[in-house]
Amino acid sequence: MNEPRLLAGRDLRSGAETYAEHVSRLGPLPRRGAVLIDLLTASGLTGRGGAAFPVGLKWRGTARAGGSPVIVANGAEGEPHSKKDRLLMSARPHLVLDGAFLAAHVLRSRQVVLYIGEHHQMARAAMERAVAERPPHERDLVRVFSAPARYVAGDSNAAVHAVTAGIALPTTLKPAPALVQNVETLAHVALIARTGHATGTVLVTAAGSVAHPGVLEVDTRSTVASVVASAGGVTEPARAVLLGGYFGAWVDYDRASELQLDPTALKDRGLTLGCGVIGLLASSRCPVCETAGIMRYLAGESSAQCGPCFFGLRALADACSRVANQGANAQDLGRLERWASEVAGRGGCRHPDGAVMFLQSALRTFPSDFAHHSAHTARRTA
C-alpha cells in the first residue's frame, strides 16, 4: 500500500510547510514542457474536485484551444462534509502552487488565480504566505479570489465566471479560456512532474458515524471499510455510505465496505468518489429523512437561473419532505421518479444533474424505506 504522499512531511498539526522545507523534501520544481501532459495522461490522474475528468485530456484540450488561459486553482470546497481541500491548502500550500505554476508554464499562461472559499480563512492565509515565499517570477502571476460560500460557486464554469467577470454563478455564455483544476489535483500534478508516475493515493474525508471524522490520505486500492477503520471505526452499526458527497450516491454499507476507492474503478461501476466524502449513515437514522434534508439543502443551493433546476429541485425536495413528514404516498413517490428523470440534464450547469443522481441513488438503495415510510418529524441532517 502506498504511503501518504501529499500529506508527507512535517506533522500536520504544526502548520503549513515552508518553501524551504518543501524544496529540501521534494527538490525544486522540474521545468517540464508539453511532455508533462503525456506524463499526466500516462499516470491516469483524474480530477479530484468531483467530476473525475482525466487531467491529461483536459490539459491537452486547453493547450489546443490556444490563447493564454487563466489557471484557476479551485479551493472553493463548498461541499458540506468535505475538509480535504482546506487541509491541503493549510498544510501543504506549496504543492498546490507547484501544480498551478506547472500548468501556467505548460499552457503558457500568465495568470494563476487561487479560488478559495470565503470561510476557509486558515487555508487562504497559508496560501498567501506561501505565495509570498515564492520567487517574483512566480509570485507575480498569482491573484487570490474569494469563492462565495455557495454550493454552485465551486462549479468550474462558475469559477471561471467569477475570476473573469466577478460573478460566481454558472453561465451559458462562451467561457473565457481557462483551466480549472481542484487544489488536490494540482498537488498530484506537482508530484507526478517530479517522479513521473501516479501518486497512488487520494484524499478523503470520513464523516458521519465514525469515531474520528476527518481527512485521510489513503491508497487508491484501499476499501471503504479500511477508511472507516482508519477513522477509528463506526460508533454504531452502519446502514449505508454516502459515497462522493451530495453529488455522489448512497450505497448499502455491506456493498460499499468492499469497494476500492480508485476513482476510475468506481466510475466503471456507475459510482463516484466525487470530492472524496465518505459519509456513514448509522442504522438508527432514517434514510428518507436524511435524503429529504439533503434535497432541501441542494434545492436551496440552486443559483435560481434555470427554471427546471429552480422549480424542479424545490418540488423534488417538497415531495421528499412530504414523504418524510407525512408518510409514504403513491402520488409523491411517483412524482419523485418522474420529476427526477425530467429535471436531469436541463440546467445551465450540472447542479440539477448531481442533485437528481443523489436522489435516484436514495430511491434505489432504500426502496422499502420510501415505500413504507410512516410519518415522523424530519431530523436535520448532521
Binding site: P170, T172, C306, G307, F311, A315, W339, V343, R346, G348
Partner: protein, 76 residues
C-alpha cells in the same frame, strides 16, 4: 450524407414562455413548471421548417438549431 440538426435550449435565457411547445408539439413538451423538454435526437427533415419557426419566434432567443456533432470517438 445529410446534415443532422438538433434543438438546443439556453437554460439560463429560457423563461418558460412555452411558445416553442405550441409551435412544435411533435418535439417539444412542457414540464410541470412550463419549461420545455426536447425530444432527444436529430430534428426530422419534415419538421425542420417548424423548428426554425420555433427558434425565430422565441421571445427571449433561448432556443437554437445546432449541427449535431458527429461522434467518431469509440466507446462513447
Amino acid at each position: 450524407m445529410t446534415r443532422a440538426y438538433e434543438l438546443r435550449i439556453d437554460r439560463i435565457r429560457c423563461d418558460g414562455r412555452g411558445l416553442c411547445a405550441q409551435l412544435l408539439p411533435e418535439l417539444i413538451r412542457l414540464d410541470d413548471w412550463g419549461y420545455p423538454i426536447i425530444a432527444p435526437g436529430p430534428v426530422p427533415e419534415h419538421l425542420r421548417p417548424l423548428a426554425e419557426r420555433a427558434v425565430e419566434d422565441c421571445p427571449v432567443l433561448a432556443i437554437a438549431l445546432r449541427r449535431m456533432e458527429t461522434r467518431k470517438a469509440a466507446g462513447r
